[in-house]
Symmetry: C2
Subunit: 440 residues, 2 copies
């Protein structure tokens, strides 16, 4: 891991980071072409692209209900129990997030408020490829279901034999997914956005994917909603000398093993302590089944920041704005107020990041690449929208008329002012029933 | 206005609409070049581009504090009073939206929750050009201020003499804007996103603008947060024969006068009633100071939908998903549950859309172009983000360990499983104090 040693009073800054933008011109161009093909040719394009990219000929993309029901029997009991526990705890957490409609009535009778409505439909992209991600299903579909979305569509690329992992299917069943299609890549995003003969379009697309999926989401956004574009995974561990180096080491490795581009940050106070953590990494590595990825990631993207004080450590964290932040020191909760930028904060050594990936309850879809400066974890907020509601009485209209007219005139908008003047005149002449013809 | 007459039982559909996508290749290319120039040359680029596009040479973009303080004296008392009333009601509405941090403790001692943190800084784009928009300042800056954002930066293009409208400056002062810069266009967006010698970058950019501003926001998104990309304004009025045609007519005109591309929809039940509304439009038009824009908009974009039933009318509204929806019929509130898709809903004839533009309190930044299917009005949610917070006890770790291990193994993530196994072993051997070295 690279090291940065901060002097007393020195500020950590973006120049210490190796982050690059997420823009990928090649992926954008490829995704644009794929999207056009799917818009023009529908299911035929999906079949051709699936054969080309996944090497499988698929006639019917829709997974039949019987196949979903049959999946549970193929899942081993330990995994089944784990999925059920995860689903329960994720559901309970997200139930606490759901926004309520509300209104407030002013003294003059004007009612203002917001009507919260679930989205009618969402599409969830579940990556396939090297790793199988039932947890992605739970973390996307459960918040949608809790929010009240009626139609929850899951798309995922086929395995080599054209099937879908039974554990993914079972996660879909547990999470309330209503339709599953064996299609992946930018072509699946296009189908969700614009529809084909088989797949009805959805209002919003969520879920992680490779560079082509990310590019496709960016291109269709505006025609449908999308969630954030996820970059490589990140963890930042703040540890002082009271923290067990073996714990810190394995937690750094648990991010590094995702991807050679994953970023691991160790923020600590002493070079000797950092040496101990690196030695512990070497020790763990012997047993790792993903040593190659893990080693590459730590070597290329890993960074140790040696700080002079806790203030400097927290300042560094706020600049890094990590996806995952682990706090391995006494009194960590007291620093929570000072931590502004992090996707999820894991407090204390009993909270390895892995619990947050699967079962703790909070969402594992988190802002990456420093976007935690302004973005939040996926939540039920992503699966509802609100409409403002305004109802004026004749009295409230009369009260506010002059203010509306003054601003409308300043902005040069004649009919804006006139729409209020006409009504105000009716109130002033007392002829307010003339408006709806009730007394005519 | 174009007319569509729906048969009994017929569904309104997207094919009845004339909407096109928001993608503008020319604007994207121009904005890309401008952004690159600002990233390379900083303030010098801002000066050159301002001279080129606004025809004004500006040395110092920052508006001095004295100029802001002095603006109030130049605002006429009626407008000043209107701004203050608007600011008060907008502030009160948005104060009811602010999210709170929360946490919940499970029986086994695990704490899960969310820490809500205001964004550190936001930039607000306030359009100049033909119209002056103090209301844009109030509708963007007040939610940011209410949410607790410390640094609220406003950018707006200069008028021909290099100044900014005093009413806009006064709106900035009332809304708590902390910095104002006389710069507009894609170059202002670039400066807010990446910074120059004079302008520090911000975390998020909000506010409406022309095609180049919209393209620039789309390009910088991901490096900073952005709000929705606003398209042309829209209103949909649902009126039955009890509604005064003169009111319906002036309210349609109040959208049409914004822009030749603004869309006005009248959903009603009888062609004779639609004729009356169109006649009333002709009557009002004689006095309009914006007759040319208004006429062009209604002719090109206006649509009358004649429905057979209230169900069909509401179904049409949900497909249109209008930015503004006015309900001019008795019992409108009873239909609220059936209305899924609308940015803001104005209930009853005493609630012309213009009250929502300025003083009612709810935000006037609303989803356009059918995006109300999945998007919401601007709110304090846009100016805060949350971080998940998780703290496990040794007991909760032991409780959840098997579930984490089972899913991690299924996903093939060795260190994820190992990070939990190591800790579980410590709990089982009772050596849990060994972890932090406290008893060593």
């Amino acid at each position: 891991m690279r090291r940065v040693i901060l002097n007393k009073g020195e500020q950590f800054s973006n120049k210490h980071l190796k982050r690059t933008g997420a823009f990928n011109a090649r992926a954008m161009e490829a995704a644009t072409n794929i999207i056009e093909q799917v818009r023009e040719q529908g299911d035929a394009a999906l079949r051709e692209l699936t054969e080309r990219f996944d090497g499988v000929a698929i006639e019917d993309f829709r997974v039949p209900a019987e196949a979903i029901e049959a999946a549970a029997a193929k899942v081993d009991p330990k995994t089944e129990e784990a999925l059920k526990k995860a689903a329960k705890q994720i559901r309970e957490f997200h139930e606490r997030q759901v926004k309520q409609s509300w209104f407030s009535v002013r003294e003059d009778g004007a009612l203002v408020g917001a009507k919260v409505t679930p989205l009618e439909s969402v599409g969830i992209y579940v990556p396939g490829g090297r790793a199988l991600y039932p947890s992605t299903v739970l973390m996307n579909a459960l918040p949608a279901a809790v929010a009240g979305v009626e139609r929850i569509v899951c798309v995922t690329p086929p395995t080599k034999d054209g099937s879908i992992d039974p554990v993914v299917l079972e996660a879909c069943r547990l999470a309330g997914v209503t339709e599953i299609y064996t299609v992946g890549g930018a072509q699946a995003v296009a189908a969700l956005a614009y529809g084909t003969e088989t797949i009805e379009p959805v209002c919003k697309i969520t879920g992680p994917g490779n560079a082509f999926v990310a590019a496709a989401k960016k291109i269709v956004s505006g025609d449908v909603g999308i969630d954030m574009i996820a970059g490589p995974s990140e963890v930042c561990v703040v540890a002082d000398e009271t923290a067990d180096p073996a714990m810190v080491a394995i937690d750094l490795m648990a991010q590094a093993e995702h991807d050679p581009l994953a970023s691991c940050y160790l923020v600590t106070f002493d070079e000797g302590y950092a040496d101990k953590v690196e030695a512990a990494i070497d020790g763990h590595m012997k047993a790792s089944t993903r040593a190659e990825i893990t080693t590459a990631s730590l070597a290329d993207q890993g960074l140790v920041v040696i700080c002079d004080s806790m203030e400097q450590a927290i300042q560094s964290v706020n600049v890094i704005a990590p996806e995952h932040l682990e706090l391995h020191f006494d009194g960590a909760f007291e620093q929570l107020g000072a931590i502004r930028n992090a996707g999820a904060i894991f407090v204390g050594e009993w909270t390895p990041e892995a619990v947050g990936d699967y079962v703790a309850g909070p969402n594992h879809t988190l802002p990456t690449g420093g976007t935690a400066r302004y973005a939040s974890p996926l939540s039920t907020d992503e699966f509802v929208k609100h409409s403002s509601v305004i109802q004026y009485s004749a009295k409230s209209l009369a009260n506010d008329a002059d203010a509306v007219i003054a601003i409308a005139r300043h902005e040069g908008l004649w009919a804006h002012a006139r729409s209020v003047e006409l009504r105000k005149a009716l109130v002033e002449t007392g002829d307010i029933y003339g408006l709806d013809g009730a007394d005519e």
